[in-house]
């Protein structure tokens, strides 16, 4: 460790540190504008100059420490240089601090105070303030080039933190300016509105539109995707007015995406539900809680057992979801309890449990930085999990990135190899990779020998699929498959990131098994930088499954069929629990359609629009005897309910969310719920107590957490008082246990400790394109939206992405006479939608793409309820459709 002196005082520095870093760490404040701890040195402002060994000046931000270096931070030459550099910067900066949004948060003010400004001296310089006007094109922040000091922090942030490159330092000399795109309004550029640059801008050149500081901040967890970013909700009065990334957040380290930072407007939307609603004469009308609860208790009481079905919410806290499934099982005597994971990652839970023993992601997100190769398959990580996506982009600058996706996604463009497979041909692709690895002898024999079983049948099945057939089925050249396989197998450790492109198929579980096979074949499980990472969709979808909101298992993954575990839970709850698994979401809808569901209780899920085949789902809602929907908005599903109960949003409740790396983190109430809305766990308790059931006397979410720790061994040590820091990754059996960042390190969690290879089998997608429906429609997320609710209540997000578009390849568009932006009719065997087109070669010929974020064009009108036989997840990703110009005769 080099030892240096600063102003005569000895300072211990770290190898490779800059003098500025060493000085700041030791408490010596050196003025600086363009330095930021997250970024590489810029060397732009020159305010941080110091004198080295009594000699010439050097910018301390770009000077690496050497042993015995003597640094002086306040000599006459240093002061003169800083004063002159500051005067120059100020000569080009408007002196209108009090009307600047960054007033008092401005680093230029700080350095000016540190260095000192002499009015007469400054007055000798000619004013060089630019005349370029503000760029107000972005709904969330404003750029003011006049206040820009050209520190380059925004450019480096976009390059190094976000990996986007939306900004650059353009022009030169006195005309030098930060440019977005071709110096266009930033909203027209590739900027993703993550706001990271705004957060780091030292002056008023980039400011959030909401720039007044909050009066208090509350640490919580982002309510959007499953990444689990730590956030600080800024509150003024009783309103959330800002969001900051929590620099100490274990997942995001301060980073946020556009939804996390700017997407909280829904909390205070005037569309929030504020009172219970009861359907009277066909119309939902406001009611009191007593009226609503009495009605619910009365109707639920006559629909116990298999006549009751309950859909828990992956948006709610673990404590609430736990309580919801406890209510279904203990009070209603029904295992018909499920959550939205059924429509997304149920195949992950089934597949990974079968092959590895635990149905969760194997590794922490930070392992992406340790991987020597990353394979992304069926995941548009950039848009669906933006903060993870940025880390994949970061990895791609360092190590080979392989992307398998029918679309040319952002990551595909950065990939060493883009395997542009046909939708639904994942198994052949993954088998092809396995075969290429075996052909090249790149499998990890010792790992296979010592830690797995079922290898030989697996090899036989793999060898039965020959390369020509694989090439033909996937549409990917064998040479690309082989090269991707070689890269993945030869670069250890390697990580696989996947998402709904893998799971939302009739062969979703097969896909997951094929992924696990590939990781096992190459020994890529159980060590840093390796692993299989399913990108879970909803903020708490991992948790919802973990706490037992599924028909076949209880909290902590105890199977309902297993007597010992079931009885232990039953004893704790004081009831006998049913031993047969209940219905899944899609099965519940079918049961409702056939008239066998007397009461359906839906909490926080827009099931009528998010289930495949909307018409069929709506029919089920109407056929159910009595439907209770508990939500924060009057969702499409709530509109079909008999009783609607107003719930609190994440910002109004205490509890925990579990992210996609199994990390349980604290959610904290920042503001009171609007009107009469209540927290979901309170509502469940209210109903249970009204039905006279014991075991729902909670007064605080922590009490529910404590019960969960007793009931589920995997959560034994997870209690609120231990969650103040980085949270805990389960399994965590005791309060002494630190949690488990990485699964399967020494042994797999299967009964015999060995992972299982599964012989692959190929089934084509349920629906093949034909003459009437010649295109394959796939679906996915947009960066600016989540599902249907929430983001549509955030004006800025709607401005950035206002409507559903169907993406068409130029060839397919030309064949139909469709021009970019034309209104078209997209129809499938189930229904049709009118919407505008976007013509792009990001989709392959013969395929089309839509997101699923708008009630005006609800995409699931088109999709089909064909299910994966194991997990019962529908095939959202392959739908045969026809696209025509709207109004054209279908026969043409």
């Amino acid at each position: 460790m080099p030892s240096i002196t600063i102003d005569g005082m000895p300072v211990a520095a770290a190898d490779g540190q800059t003098v500025l870093q060493a000085a700041l760490a030791a408490g010596f404040d050196i003025p600086h504008l363009c330095h930021h701890p997250d970024l590489s040195p810029g060397g732009h402002c020159r305010l941080c100059v110091v004198q080295v060994d009594g000699g010439p000046l050097s910018a301390s931000c770009q000077l690496t420490v050497r042993d015995a270096m003597s640094i002086a931070t306040d000599t006459v030459p240093v002061r003169e240089a800083r004063e002159a550099a500051l005067d120059l910067i100020l000569s080009a900066h408007p002196m209108t601090c009090l009307t600047c949004a960054s007033n008092h948060a401005c680093k230029l003010q700080t350095v000016a105070a540190q260095i000192g400004v002499d009015e007469a001296r400054l007055g000798l310089l000619r004013p060089l303030v630019g005349s370029v006007s503000k760029d107000e094109s972005n709904p969330f922040f404003i750029r003011d080039p006049q206040r820009c000091v050209l520190c380059g922090i925004c450019v480096r942030t976009c390059d190094e933190v976000q990996g986007r490159g939306a900004l650059a330092v353009g022009y030169s000399g006195a005309a030098t300016a930060i440019v977005a795109g071709s110096d266009a309004p930033i909203a027209e550029s590739i900027c993703e509105s993550c706001g990271e640059c705004v957060d780091r801008c030292p002056t008023g050149a980039l400011v959030h539109r909401e720039s007044r500081p909050p009066t208090r901040e509350v640490r919580s967890v982002c309510p959007y995707c499953g990444t689990g970013c730590s956030i600080l909700l800024g509150v003024r009065g009783d309103r959330v007015v800002s969001v900051r990334g929590d620099a100490d957040g274990p997942v995001n380290r301060g980073r946020l995406c556009v939804k996390g930072r700017y997407g909280m407007g829904f909390i205070h939307s005037d569309q929030r539900l504020t009172t219970p609603l009861i359907r009277r004469d066909g119309v939902l009308e406001p009611a009191t809680w007593d009226e609503a609860l009495d009605l619910v208790a009365e109707r639920f009481a006559v629909s116990r057992g298999s006549a009751f079905a309950c859909i828990g919410s992956a948006r709610c806290t673990n404590e609430e979801v736990y309580l919801t499934q406890k209510f279904a099982r203990a009070v209603m005597g029904s295992n018909n309890v499920d959550n939205c994971a059924r429509l997304c990652h149920a195949p992950t839970v089934a597949g990974l449990k079968q092959s590895l023993g635990t149905g969760g992601g194997t590794s922490p997100i930070e392992d992406l930085a340790k991987a020597a190769c990353v394979l992304v398959i069926g995941s548009n990580t950039t848009e669906a999990h933006p903060v993870v996506g940025a880390q994949v982009r970061h990895a791609a600058r360092r190590v080979p990135l392989i992307v398998a996706d029918p679309r040319e996604t952002d990551l595909a463009r950065r990939a060493r190899i883009h395997l542009r497979l046909r939708p639904g041909s994942d198994v052949p692709l993954l088998v092809g990779m396995a075969r290429a690895i075996l052909d090249a002898g790149l499998e990890k024999a010792t790992f296979i020998e010592e830690r797995t079983e079922g290898f030989l049948p697996f090899v036989q099945a793999v060898m039965a699929m020959d390369p020509e057939w694989i090439e033909e089925t996937t549409g990917v050249p064998w040479s690309d498959i082989a090269e991707a396989a070689r890269l993945y197998a030869a670069s250890a450790p390697a990580m696989i990131v996947y998402s709904l492109g893998i799971t939302e198929h009739t062969h979703g579980t097969d896909n997951v098994l094929a992924i696990a096979n590939l990781a096992l074949l190459t020994g890529n499980i159980g060590r840093p930088g390796a692993g299989v990472m399913p990108m879970r969709g909803q903020n708490n979808v991992q948790g919802a499954c973990d706490v037992g909101c599924v028909p076949d298992s209880l909290a902590g993954g105890l199977a309902v069929r297993e007597q010992a575990g079931r009885e232990a839970v039953g004893r704790r709850w004081g009831v006998d629990l049913a031993d047969t698994p209940g219905l899944t979401v899609m099965e519940m809808l079918d049961a409702a359609r056939s008239g066998s569901i007397g009461a359906l209780y839906v909490t926080g899920m827009d099931v009528a629009y998010s289930a495949a085949d909307t018409a069929r789902a709506q029919e089920a809602m109407r056929a159910a005897g009595f439907v209770v929907v508990q939500d924060i908005f009057l969702s499409g599903t709530a509109e079909l309910a008999d009783v609607v109960l107003p719930a609190a949003s994440f910002a109004e409740k205490d509890g925990t969310f579990t992210n996609l790396e199994r990390r349980v983190q604290r959610v904290r109430a920042a503001v009171p719920p609007p009107g009469e809305a209540r927290q979901d766990w309170q509502i469940v308790c209210d109903i249970a107590r009204r039905m006279g059931a014991p075991g729902f006397e909670f007064t605080d979410a922590s009490q529910i957490r404590d019960e969960m720790s007793e009931v589920a061994p995997a959560f034994g040590g997870i209690r609120f008082d231990r969650l103040e820091g980085d949270g805990i990754q389960w399994p965590c059996p005791s309060v002494e246990h630190p949690g488990t960042p990485r699964l399967h390190v020494d042994r797999f969690s299967t009964p015999n400790g060995r992972a299982r290879f599964t012989a692959p089998a190929y089934r084509p997608p349920a629906e093949a394109p034909d003459e009437s429906y010649p295109l394959v429609l796939t679906t996915g997320r947009s960066l600016y939206h989540f599902h249907l609710a929430m983001t549509v209540h955030v004006a800025g997000l709607m401005e950035l992405n206002p409507e559903e578009l169907v993406w068409l390849h130029p060839d397919d568009a030309a064949a139909r006479g469709v021009a970019d932006g034309d209104l078209v009719t997209v129809s499938s065997r189930r229904g049709s939608l009118d919407l505008r087109s976007w013509i792009t070669d990001a989709v392959s010929p013969g395929t089309a793409f839509m997101t699923f974020h708008f009630y005006e064009a609800p995409t699931n009108v088109l999709t089909q309820a064909a299910l994966d036989p194991v997990s019962k997840t529908p095939e959202f990703k392959v739908t045969a459709v026809q696209v025509r110009r709207a109004g054209d005769d279908k026969r043409q």
Binding site: G43, A84, S91, L124, S182
Partner: protein, 503 residues
């Protein structure tokens, strides 16, 4: 950059929409392509006239100081080979067909490379070290030290780059060499490549040197076809986008990578982490042209020319008020007077020597009293003005030093890359102060401001350009204080050049 240049050639200007398409095809964000397009003076963006940089400022210097380029006039004298025949880096200029490998060989060319290839790489470096060759690009850094560093870095692919970004107003020696004897440079590159273990050579030529680019391309073709460059070494020609600062080797590397040509942070040095991260040796045209002579005639011969501190031939570009401006090659150690009187036929008719500007826009003025200073990196520096890359502008008694300074200040401000605050804004403040000194508002405060800005730029700018970007102006104030005082205090231009009127 080549893609932008192609667009520029084809359409005369670059439409904004085209940059987005170009960026997409190159896999670059549009912002980065746009930044490059707006940085280089040779690219004009359609519909964006007011933002485009002004053209190079040779014209201003020419009008004030008569500094006209004369690359065709070449004189080499005072240097003889061991066999007594005249020799030197310019000896063949005008005597052979520039592109012809046969002509070059017949004149003794590629003999140095033959000698080098027969030696181990380390021995080549030691030979250059024994010759005490110092780089002719401006800094005078020992060439062998640079090569040795690149040689000892372990890396699979290394690169040798010939820096022909020659951007000094009043410098044209590189142009002369490239146009008239390009094989000498290619041979030097091949020797450097052997010494450091590079398989790839690139000649980076500023785009304004269109004719030289064609000549060098022709020479490369002939050399490759005839195998003259030795086994496993290929050379290509890169046309730079035309910015003075690209003469800085790290800026040059950025520009070759398609980024704006702003200097990089050092360390790492290019010899360790250069073009696309590969160890890279960047040497000036003149340096490389001298290398074959060292191998051919031996290091002792080379080291015997000139003073111990600066050995070998000096290659100078002389312009201004001399009778015969041109490129002059003399032994290091000759005096400025010898160059002017013997090399250039003395002062032009009616002109009296007032000052000599050396070192280009980062150099200084020497007074007429310093005319007996020997041409040598160290002696010139001691006299107050760097030798730089060998450009000498001879200033006569009728020239206004304030106006001359302003011409340099215009250049300095226009060529500032914009990376750091002192240079980006300091060059502008200096220029505005000088403009003021030429008019009715002239004041002593302008002089104090210039001195303060110069000091700040010198002590804390990011790169060598910024540190010396006001040095010419400061030297003029120091050498001709009375002339500046006449402007500032009496509002009078002794040379009667400045209007001294309200602007």
């Amino acid at each position: 950059m080549p893609a932008l240049a192609q667009l520029q050639r084809r359409h005369g200007s670059i439409e904004n929409g085209v940059i987005a398409a170009l960026a997409r095809s190159l896999g670059l964000p549009e912002s980065k392509a746009y930044a490059a397009a707006t940085f280089y003076s040779s690219f004009a963006l359609a519909g964006d006239g007011q933002k485009v940089r002004p053209p190079a400022l040779d014209a201003a210097l020419e009008s004030v100081m008569g500094a006209e380029r004369a690359p065709e006039a070449i004189r080499s004298w005072g240097i003889t080979a061991p066999d007594g025949r005249p020799d030197g880096a310019l000896a063949r200029c005008g005597a052979i067909r520039p592109e012809s490998v046969d002509d070059y060989r017949a004149a003794g060319g590629y003999e140095g490379l033959r000698v080098a290839l027969a030696m181990p790489a380390e021995a080549v470096v030691e030979t250059v070290r024994a010759a005490r060759l110092r780089g002719r690009g401006g800094a005078g850094f020992p060439t062998a030290a640079k090569w040795d560093h690149a040689r000892t870095v372990i890396a699979p692919a290394k690169v040798v780059i010939c820096n022909a970004a020659e951007g000094d107003p009043g410098a044209f020696a590189d142009l002369a060499i490239l146009r008239q004897d390009p094989h000498g440079v290619l041979e030097g590159m091949a020797i450097a490549a052997h010494a450091v273990g590079a398989a790839r050579g690139i000649v980076y030529i500023r785009s304004e040197y269109e004719e030289a680019i064609e000549t060098v391309r022709g020479a490369v073709r002939e050399a490759s076809d005839s195998g003259a460059l030795g086994p496993g070494f290929t050379v290509e020609v890169f046309s730079g986008g035309g910015r003075y600062v690209c003469g800085d080797e790290t800026a040059l590397l950025n520009s070759m990578e398609g980024a704006p040509g702003r200097p990089r942070l050092r360390p790492p040095l290019p010899t360790e982490h250069g073009l696309w991260g590969r160890p890279t040796v960047v040497d000036n045209v003149k340096t490389l042209a001298l290398v074959p002579l060292i191998l051919r005639h031996g290091p002792e011969w080379f080291a015997s020319i000139g003073p111990a501190a600066t050995t070998g031939p000096a290659i100078l570009a002389v312009s201004g008020f001399v009778r015969r401006p041109g490129v002059v090659e003399v032994p290091m150690g000759f005096t400025l007077r010898q160059v002017i009187e013997q090399g250039c036929g003395g002062m032009a008719d009616g002109a009296e020597l007032k000052a000599i500007q050396t070192g280009g826009p980062l150099g200084a003025f020497l007074s007429a009293d310093a005319v007996d200073t020997p041409i040598c990196f160290d002696a010139m520096k001691a006299a107050g003005s760097p030798l730089g890359s060998g450009g000498l502008i001879v200033v006569d008694h009728r020239t206004c030093m304030v106006a001359s300074s302003r011409a340099f200040a215009e250049f300095a401000a226009a060529e500032s890359c914009g990376h750091c605050a002192p240079c980006r804004l300091g060059t502008r403040q200096v220029l505005l102060a000088l403009r003021n000194l030429m008019g009715a508002g002239a004041s002593g405060a302008d002089l104090r401001l210039i001195e303060r800005m110069e000091a700040a730029m010198r002590s804390s700018s990011f790169c060598a350009y910024g540190r010396s970007a006001a040095s010419v102006v400061l030297s003029a104030i120091r050498v001709f204080p009375d002339e500046f005082a006449a402007h500032a205090v009496e509002r009078r231009c002794p040379a009667d050049w400045c209007s001294m009127e309200a602007s």
